[in-house]
């Protein structure tokens, strides 16, 4: 018993990780707290300057016609919708780009709908909102390619995301009718924007919490999961033991009971 634990101990001197991995992680962490943050703010300001005044004006018009009822004419918020100061272009791109905004009805949670605007219109509104106050910008393409560290991304995903979205990204229930949506087929850009902006009741994963590289890892992991069909066959929705149990009762036992009836039926 005792000797057993001591052999285990040797195997576990470093806890769950290899010491080199820790160093690598610390480096990434430092990057996230320092350099990456600077990088991020510069990209944000660059974005604002690039957006032309014409685009901002166009965006303001679309905003006034479609969004102002709830968010107010100056986007400062009303009792029906929050202020949009500082939410940034990323938030607009996510909310409108996934069809969540404009809301169809007031409910526990805005639902995904078919898009109501072209990407150009969304970009205009994003430019307008970004012009009001600095906020997270639309992410850089280099974080969205899905070529980062899949295994590390998986670990980050399980620690920070799987509790709500499920390990297979199948989604899950929250309180009072809210839910974490399925991540299957969601564009990398929208996943990144959701992490940065924390839409609805999702927490914000700022760059000081998950660095852009961490986010790229998570996106790579999700892409990896999406790209590969389950090696075992049909995944039954990735819902785990509940769908497996229903399947064996209905189809497994159902088929076999069918066979028993055939066995005991008398041929003509």
């Amino acid at each position: 018993m005792r000797t057993h634990t001591s052999t285990d101990a040797r195997g576990r001197q470093t806890g769950r990780r290899h010491p080199l991995a820790s160093i690598a992680l610390i480096t990434i962490g430092l990057l996230s707290t320092g350099g990456a943050y600077a990088l991020m703010t510069t990209t944000a300001s660059a974005e604002t300057s690039v957006a032309t005044q014409q685009s901002v004006n166009e965006g303001q018009k679309i905003f006034a016609a479609n969004c102002a009822t709830c968010h107010g004419m100056t986007a400062s918020g009303t009792k029906d919708g929050p202020s949009l100061y500082g939410v940034g272009a990323a938030s607009v791109d996510f909310q409108m780009g996934t069809g969540r905004m404009p809301l169809a009805y007031q409910g526990p949670q805005g639902a995904q709908k078919p898009l109501q605007f072209t990407q150009e219109q969304i970009d205009d509104v994003a430019a307008y909102i970004a012009s009001l106050a600095p906020g997270p910008a639309v992410p850089d393409e280099k974080y969205l390619a899905g070529d980062a560290d899949v295994a590390l991304g998986g670990q980050l995903f399980r620690t920070n995301c799987a509790m709500c979205h499920n390990v297979a990204g199948a989604g899950g229930a929250l309180t009072e009718g809210k839910f974490a949506p399925s991540l299957k087929g969601v564009e990398a850009r929208h996943i990144y924007e959701a992490m940065v902006t924390g839409p609805q009741n999702m927490p914000v994963f700022s760059d000081s919490n998950l660095s852009p590289q961490d986010k790229a890892d998570i996106i790579s992991f999700l892409k990896f999961q999406n790209q590969h069909a389950s090696p075992g066959g049909v995944d039954l929705g990735g819902l785990g033991p509940v769908s497996e149990g229903l399947f064996i009762w209905i189809f497994g036992l159902g088929a076999i009971v069918g066979v028993t009836i055939w066995i005991t039926a008398r041929p003509n």
Partner: protein, 542 residues
């Protein structure tokens, strides 16, 4: 009867012994001279088994168990039941370089680096789910048929033990891969054990070999999973089958069937061919499911780590009722009394589930005591002919089903766009009301069906053909039953409620009174089978 065989016997006339038959004869002789096997063959070879689809459910369980044993043996060749930490260097990219236990790493290797390993894992797991499901359905069949009555009460209990063992096997197996799902399952077990008054802390400490999760639980569960539990299971299974042979199988009421005979097909060759063939079919269906449907994709869950958790963390279906019990506990049931913590939010479900399970186990004895019937019964009852028992069964099934549904409350909420709070509250109400409603409905349905049977036995089927009588009255012609069909409908035991009678000393004990009340509850509402006298007196009407 004898006419049917002629065509077949003429095709295979008994010829002079061929080489093959001489060889068979020699082998048989060799064996018999050393084992007396001819006696056993003579006794059992032509034993009769009644033929009904619902009598094959136990076989499904047996055959899935064989599939489990075969695939499980394959898995033991590769599985490494230790929690030593290793770095994964196998071929699954999603976990490359991640630190994990050897148990989890070897399960990944079985899945991704050994040809057919994933298939065997899936066969093992699907067969396990089917095993417990088949046992459950078999138990329901036996219950609703009243096939647990004397002389089969003990075999019911053995079957019940098998059910518990199967769940134990299932849970220990579920925990072995040491992935995030099973680790959190073990964490729930640890939390439940700690909630047991007095000894909980120590039981958990001893079980896990220290604090949760420790490094001992996987090898310990492995010993239980592949050695102790299967050994007990096989022994109990042998006993179960032995008693079945001794008691002989029950049969449905029918013409020529009596309480003193068993009508069906002989083991050699007909039953053996059907049952043997059925084994291959069950095994084949399991392998077919395993080739096309993923089960427990452990690679998604990642290695166990005490901090993460996945939405939709659920146990396998057969443990669901216990998880549901934990979810449906009313809020606030934890108190400090006499300097100790009483976690009724754990103890209460344990007590309720424990009572439920004990009731299932002892039901045959309860019913036997209430009816006072000590005779042997070999005719299976149709559920409708025992309305109160069927109603009790329906209530029990509903109770179990609500607990089971509760284990998926979060998935119910997301898939039906409900709030999790509403689902929980509804299921809490349903846990109490559901069984009552199910009881009342089932009882009424049984009585109505019995009435219909009586009607049909006396007046025949409605033919749907209308005729007009000379007086102008319209009348539907009833198709009368032949004696064979009628017998199926009228051959059942008709109990009357117990009459309290004083014992030898002229007293009526309180126990007798309770029994009389229960007996009245059981048999007050009843429909007696139709009689010949009724048929004859009633024939004038139609």
């Amino acid at each position: 009867m004898t006419t049917a065989q002629d065509t077949t016997t003429t095709k295979s006339p008994v010829a002079a012994p061929t080489r093959g038959s001489r060889f068979t004869g020699a082998v048989a002789n060799y064996l018999d001279e050393r084992t007396s096997i001819s006696g056993i063959t003579k006794e059992l070879g032509r034993k009769i088994f009644p033929d009904h689809w619902s009598f094959m459910l136990g076989e499904v369980a047996l055959y899935s168990f064989i599939a489990i044993l075969l695939s499980g043996t394959f898995l033991t060749f590769f599985f490494e039941p230790t929690m030593t930490q290793v770095h994964y260097e196998g071929s699954y990219v999603g976990l490359k370089g991640i630190e994990m236990s050897a148990a989890y790493a070897s399960t990944l290797d079985i899945s991704f680096d050994i040809r057919g390993g994933l298939l065997m894992r899936q066969v093992h797991h699907w067969a396990a789910l089917l095993f417990v499901a088949a046992i459950g359905l078999h138990m329901l069949r036996v219950f609703f048929n009243g096939s647990f009555k004397k002389p089969r009460e003990l075999n019911w209990v053995i079957g019940f033990v098998l059910f518990i063992l199967a769940m134990g096997e299932g849970f220990t197996g579920y925990s072995l891969p040491d992935d995030l799902l099973s680790g959190n399952g073990l964490r729930i077990i640890d939390g439940m054990v700690k909630g047991i008054p007095l000894a909980g802390t120590w039981i958990s400490y001893l079980l896990f070999g220290g604090e949760f999760p420790g490094t001992a639980i996987v090898p310990r569960l492995y010993s239980l999973h592949i050695l102790l539990l299967p050994a007990i299971l096989v022994a109990a299974l042998g006993l179960h089958l032995l008693l079945m042979v001794i008691n002989k199988h029950t049969q449905y009421a029918g013409p020529g069937r009596t309480n003193d005979n068993v009508v069906g097909v002989p083991i050699m060759p007909n039953f053996a061919a059907k049952a043997g063939g059925f084994f291959f079919v069950v095994f084949g269906v399991i392998v077919l499911i395993s080739s096309f449907f993923t089960i427990n994709p452990i690679w998604n869950y990642g290695p166990y780590d005490p901090s993460p958790i996945s939405a939709g963390t659920q146990p396998d279906w057969y443990i669901g009722f216990a998880d549901g019990g934990l979810r449906l506990v009313p809020p606030g049931l934890e108190f400090v009394l006499w300097g100790h913590t009483w976690s009724f939010n754990i103890i209460l479900p344990l007590i309720v589930l424990g009572l439920f399970i004990v009731l299932v186990a002892i039901y045959p004895f309860l019913e036997a005591w209430i009816t006072g019937d000590k005779r042997e019964h070999h005719i299976t009852e149709r559920p409708r002919n025992a309305p109160t028992r069927t109603a009790i069964g329906a209530a029990g099934v509903t109770f179990y089903a609500v607990l089971w549904a509760a284990a998926a409350s979060d998935i119910l909420a997301t898939h039906f766009h409900l709030t999790i709070e509403a689902v929980t509250h509804s299921l809490q109400a349903l846990l109490i009301l559901g069984p009552i409603i199910a009881y009342l409905i089932a009882k009424r349905v049984c009585l109505a069906l019995q009435k219909k049977d009586r009607e049909i036995a006396l007046h025949g089927y409605e033919s749907g053909r209308m005729i007009r009588l000379p007086g102008g009255e319209y009348h539907e012609v009833h198709q009368p039953l032949d004696d064979y069909e009628r017998w199926r409908l009228v051959d059942y035991v008709d109990y009357k409620p117990l009459m309290i009678r004083p014992d030898a000393r002229g007293r009526i004990s309180p126990v007798q009174r309770v029994r009389a009340v229960l007996s009245r509850w059981f048999f007050e509402d009843r429909i007696s089978p139709a009689t010949r006298a009724e048929l004859e007196s009633g024939e004038g009407h139609h």
